[in-house]
Point group: C2
Chain length 182, copies 2
DNA sequence: CGCACATATGTGCATGGTCCTCTATATGCA
DNA sequence: TGCATATAGAGGACCATGCACATATGTGCG
């Protein structure tokens, strides 16, 4: 859906090949977005076809040819249009909650096991987020504005806040279950 | 992905037609799951073909024929298998965060507008969740166990907790932005 | 020497999903 | 009278995604 725009956003910072894009997506924005390799290549092709990006060629010795992609002016315009467009929130889908909702078919200890597994997962996620180091504010990497820096911090904090809320909810739910099936 | 299982779960409580299912999905589990009408019908057909549900026929006067679907024993087995299976969390995708991450291209007041819009949305969602009334614990509807009741409350609390965390994060982010672009 | 892994780009296929449209009838509203 | 909405189901087009696989080459390890 908006993988197009996520890619436009990343490319607007710096031209990249599909291969490099994949690594950036996995690393930098991995907390709130993912993309399959083949999907990235397909999306890049589509962007080029639509005139939103242009494809370069860098022949390398000893390794495969690189195809760095650059956002065109039309691409930047589309990116800005998207940034300003009304955000229609996609319907939330939580497979874990769906499971839990119907989990009264399971014996209570299995329900607790579901919560425990979830707790472990989220705790791991939280630890990863907490491990993210930001460079000191007074030494911003080139091309990064103060606003951009703040937004990237905010994105990480979003993950932190929700991970902590999730852990707290799991604890409360555990206590709730203990009360009815000790 | 697990619309199959969500439907099995709902049908396990009470046989239903596709039409009725759609309403239940939109209402009761609407906070964490959605489904397109045609997709529901297709999924029901698939379930019947796989022997996980059976299709009945109720001819009505003056309105279209009903096709209530009932979960078979195989369907219940599949449901239990799914409930107990390891939950591989699908990658999180948050279009709003993606937008915000690249929003340093926008003038600061537009960024604030994004946060404001989001705040309104989440506040509305929160109000809807808060409006949900549960029947008193001592008068459970038939077929609902105490565990089931607690899990449904927990599902709502999940929505509440995250909506509140989101609002708090938005406030913090607003303050963060005010500090750098007063 | 063989094997795994990294670099780099793709194709093909199946799945799951949304959106739009069609078919019928009944009720209610202006 | 006409229009919207509710009831009930279904087909077609299209899209994004994910998995498996293909292609070539280089490096490091045991």
């Amino acid at each position: 859906m908006s993988l197009r725009h996520a890619i436009l956003g990343i490319l607007s910072v710096k031209p990249m090949s599909g291969y490099e894009l994949k690594k950036v997506v996995d690393g930098s924005v991995g907390h709130f977005w993912t993309a399959d390799r083949s999907q990235i290549y397909r999306t890049l092709s589509a962007l080029v076809e639509e005139g939103l990006a242009s494809r370069g060629t860098v022949v390398q010795e000893g390794r495969p040819t690189l195809h760095p992609h650059t956002v065109t002016d039309a691409g930047l315009a589309e990116l800005d249009r998207w940034l300003a467009s009304p955000l229609q929130a996609p319907p939330t889908r939580d497979a874990f909650l769906a499971r839990l909702f119907f989990a009264d078919r399971l014996p209570p200890e299995r329900v607790r096991a579901l919560l425990d597994a979830r707790h472990r997962e989220v705790a791991e996620e939280l630890a990863e987020l907490e491990a993210i180091e930001f460079p000191p504010r007074d030494a911003l990497p080139e091309g990064v504005t103060e606003l951009g820096y703040a937004l990237r911090e905010a994105a990480r904090d979003h993950g932190l806040a929700h991970a902590r809320a999730e852990l707290a909810w799991i604890d409360a739910t555990r206590r709730r279950l203990e009360r009815i099936t000790p």
